[in-house]
Symmetry: C2
Subunit: 270 residues, 2 copies
Amino acid sequence: MAISLSGETRLFPVVGDPIAQVKSPALLSALMADRARDAIVPPVHVAPADLAPVIGAFGMLRNLDGVLVTVPHKIAAFSLCSRVTDRARFAGSVNVMRKAAGGWLGDNTDGQGFVNGIELAGQSVADKKVLLVGCGGAGSAIALEFMIGGAAQLALHDIDQARRDRVIDALSWRFPGKVVTGGTDPSGFDIIANATPMGMQPGDPLPVDVAGLSSGQFVACVITKPENSPLVEAARQRGCRTMNGLGMFMAQADILADFLLFSDKTARED
Amino acid sequence: MAISLSGETRLFPVVGDPIAQVKSPALLSALMADRARDAIVPPVHVAPADLAPVIGAFGMLRNLDGVLVTVPHKIAAFSLCSRVTDRARFAGSVNVMRKAAGGWLGDNTDGQGFVNGIELAGQSVADKKVLLVGCGGAGSAIALEFMIGGAAQLALHDIDQARRDRVIDALSWRFPGKVVTGGTDPSGFDIIANATPMGMQPGDPLPVDVAGLSSGQFVACVITKPENSPLVEAARQRGCRTMNGLGMFMAQADILADFLLFSDKTARED
């Protein structure tokens, strides 16, 4: 369905800096039109120093119901929420906020989008052995979601060992014995996931040793530019099934629309 | 051309309270698409008490270039501009603002839209005798524009005589001897214009004595709901040519787009 505008259009802006690269204005506006909602996702370019007053003003706009948050605002936006979901609290950041009584309810759907995208690509997560490289904001959210999804074992790798250990400790409290230290050898894992930016720049090293990949494994990557990262390309050459960053984005679009349009049944508000 | 959204879309919101009735999101967004601009006019519902902080936040948004202003914010928005055009200063209100060095440049295009609409309908204004009923915000802007357009004589009527006399005095300083007191009898005028809300509610009295209308006269009206006011209907029955509020709105859309997109050649900044 085509995007249209009227005096009754509801607003769900996406805030970022820069903003020109974001895909949500086109894709999420179209998704809301598909759902027969008179609603759009306008891009909003706001610098970090201006985020708090801009979100404050958004709170005053009576036809604005929610905000999507992208780089570099996800951590700052967390602190502007009056309530957050478990997922957002674990990540320490939000990528979406909606108006709630007395303020903003924040959520972080980055992990859900990644894991839902893998399942939509036909790869179940339950009872699988997973290697995840990258324990930053996206990586820690994805790690939580692999465990919620029932992974049998999750091995984590990050060049920042302290950061890796913090995520292992945080998850082990809830999933004892299942979250362990990993490396760059993908042998023996069912699912190999990259949550680092390695592959965005030409000449980047690969996040795992792709010589250890073989058909039957599933490889997933957060990178959207290039559309297929060198890791995804190498995995396909070795016969692996894959999910690229667009797969994550498309799976996440539905989750975001559910949350923004109040049709979400699973978000835990606490 | 269809409206689309991307990360590079520029924003020109329209602020009002209420907002559901505004036509500019649909019509001006389509006009910008016709001009091959990646730009939209989202509706923004903001209460009077929140206007100043919201406009302040708009100043921080780096992909927002201008703002359309509708009821009840036109006078308050004037005071938020760092510079205004002659037309806006005469009206004491703005219906459009764009970012300028150090603040906002405000303009008021209500009068231009009305008079351009009359000319686009085939009725010249130069050297004509004009009766204008209503000397409020829109009426005074329209009065100025009739005189800029070269009307031979402009007769003004308003039930608030002090308000009428203030407009006559203000215009007479610039156009001596041409702006006079009028009444409700349209006889002898080339153009009869209504800038009052009379005709929006069932049972409203007509702004002029329509028994005095005859073919050869041109009747113009600011009212958009109903699309053709009782005055316009009565004028058509008597063989007059007419312009309704939509004609004003469509003529104004081009003027507003010119101003917002910086392609305006005539706005005097001072």
